[in-house]
């Protein structure tokens, strides 16, 4: 066993661990949130609060399961991706087949996004339920070798279980954000109704709970967007194709593209091969960037095998 095997297995284990932690964190967060909401709404009646919290929790779990199992198709639909077959673009399809064989994962369905911006992403919950998407802009710019490098990069995300974590983030965090957005309104209404009772106290507790838990979730987003995942996917791609030059050329082309991918948003930005929202890159070099800089990635590929 080589050093690379160990690193890959470490990464996969870490991704699985972080995914489980995310699910547990989500359940705890929603439970606390609903508990507080329940007591605020019912004015301190413990039984009523528990009944409310329990019902809402069940709904949240059902919603979370639904988004976990249909998240990939949701994300693909949101990006306006169209499924293609071998006949639509033999070269692209062949390259995906080659990389699926090289990385020993089942052949994922291939999607094309009709957008002139250059980008690509992989999604799904595990290698058996994965999908690849690439924009027409990127597809038509790359040579066959470069295309192979990009697809190999995405296939590495699949193989490393990065896609599962990315999807849990996009769906669960999305759900929490939804709840948080609607919360202040609900609470204000409840507070008005139960003025003079325990409403004020409950809102205070909720504010504190949110203050404690919000950074926890922010941390998760950072984890998924970690630079190391991108570096590892680049390295994994080079391992599959054995062609570091093509990966570097592809990244440079991607870096030269200044167009904004309209279909990407804050919830899906971390999934793409390069940051799709260019405004961010200029403004937030560092903490908020979901991707490391292209120069940095190129440098690391050049160091591989040295």
């Amino acid at each position: 066993m080589t050093a690379s095997d160990v690193t890959y297995h470490d990464l996969i284990a870490k991704n699985r661990r972080t995914s489980s932690l995310l699910v547990v964190g989500f359940v705890v967060f929603v439970a606390v949130l609903l508990g507080v909401m329940g007591s605020a709404l019912t004015g301190g009646d413990a039984w009523a609060a528990a009944a409310f919290g329990g019902t809402a929790m069940a709904i949240a779990i059902v919603m979370a399961f639904f988004s976990y199992y249909s998240g990939d198709s949701m994300i693909l639909r949101m990006s306006g991706a169209k499924l293609i077959q071998h006949g639509d673009d033999p070269e692209l399809y062949n390259v995906v087949e080659e990389m699926a064989i090289a990385s020993a994962v089942p052949l994922p369905p291939v999607y094309l996004i009709e957008d002139t911006a250059m980008n690509a992403f992989a999604t799904g919950r595990d290698p058996e339920h994965a999908a690849l998407a690439i924009t027409r802009g990127l597809r038509e710019t790359l040579t066959r070798d470069e295309l192979q490098a990009v697809i190999a990069h995405e296939m590495s995300h699949v193989r490393h279980y990065d896609i599962r974590l990315a999807m849990l983030l996009a769906t669960l965090v999305g759900l929490v954000v939804l709840v948080c957005d609607s919360l202040p309104r609900t609470l204000r209404r409840a507070g008005r109704r139960s003025r003079g009772r325990s409403g004020g106290g409950a809102i205070l507790i909720l504010a504190i709970a949110l203050a404690i838990i919000a950074p926890f979730f922010a941390k998760f987003i950072q984890l998924a967007a970690s630079r190391q995942r991108e570096y590892m996917a680049d390295a994994g791609a080079v391992e599959l194709t054995r062609n570091p030059e093509a990966m570097i050329l592809a990244l440079k082309r991607l870096g030269g593209d200044k167009e904004v991918l309209e279909v990407a948003n804050r919830a899906t930005a971390h999934m793409y091969i390069v940051q799709p929202i260019k405004k961010w890159e200029a403004r937030a070099k560092g903490m908020f960037a979901t991707h490391p800089s292209i120069d940095d990635r190129v440098r690391r590929i050049e160091l591989l095998g040295k």
Binding site: A3, I101, R242, P244
Partner: protein
């Protein structure tokens, strides 16, 4: 407790258990090499299917290149007739070489190069070649795991008893095979 009775009995149970574990492990590894081989086989068949189309297409534009075309057809036939893995590998090397020559020669025929059909076949054949190379890596990995288990103590006893045979690697002389880079952070 009567150890004179239970002791030997216990030993037999333990050894029997180990025996079953080793046997199952060998079977599992052998099945994996067979799966690995079928991965290569699919691509080889695909290549045999594509070659006659290619030959027909090239004939239409470059009738006088009999020799190169014949070399491709002969190599294909050798591949189809191959019985063992080394024979197969040898034939596949011949096919790869002959095809490379054919594609090099196509440079001299602009009409051929410009035809849709030829472009499509060239893409399919070069992709198939890549797929063979990638499935070969996977197959050879499974063979190396199976063979080393089969040749080491104590599973070599179990293997010998049930006629497990060492499998051949699928070797290809391919100049384009690059070194695997070391990947670690």
């Amino acid at each position: 407790m009567n150890w004179n009775f239970y002791g030997p009995f216990g030993l037999v149970v333990v050894f029997g258990f180990l025996f079953i574990v080793m046997y199952n492990r060998l079977v599992r590894l052998r099945v994996r090499t067979e799966d690995g081989w079928s991965g290569i086989d699919v691509q080889l068949k695909r290549r045999y299917d594509l070659i006659p189309n290619l030959v027909e297409t090239v004939k239409g534009y470059a009738k006088h290149e009999r020799e190169t075309l014949d070399a491709v057809i002969t190599a294909r036939q050798a591949g189809i007739n191959a019985k063992t893995v080394p024979e197969q590998a040898q034939a596949e090397n011949m096919i790869t070489g002959a095809l490379r020559q054919l594609f090099a020669l196509s440079e001299a025929y602009p009409d051929l190069k410009a035809s849709d059909n030829f472009g499509r076949l060239q893409e399919e054949l070069s992709s198939t070649e890549n797929k063979i190379a990638f499935s070969r890596q996977h197959y050879n990995d499974t063979v190396s795991r199976y063979n080393s288990t089969l040749e080491t103590f104590p599973s070599n006893f179990v293997g010998g008893m049930f006629g497990f045979l060492v499998r051949d690697f699928f070797e290809m002389e391919d100049a384009t095979q690059r070194e695997t880079p070391q990947v670690s952070f």
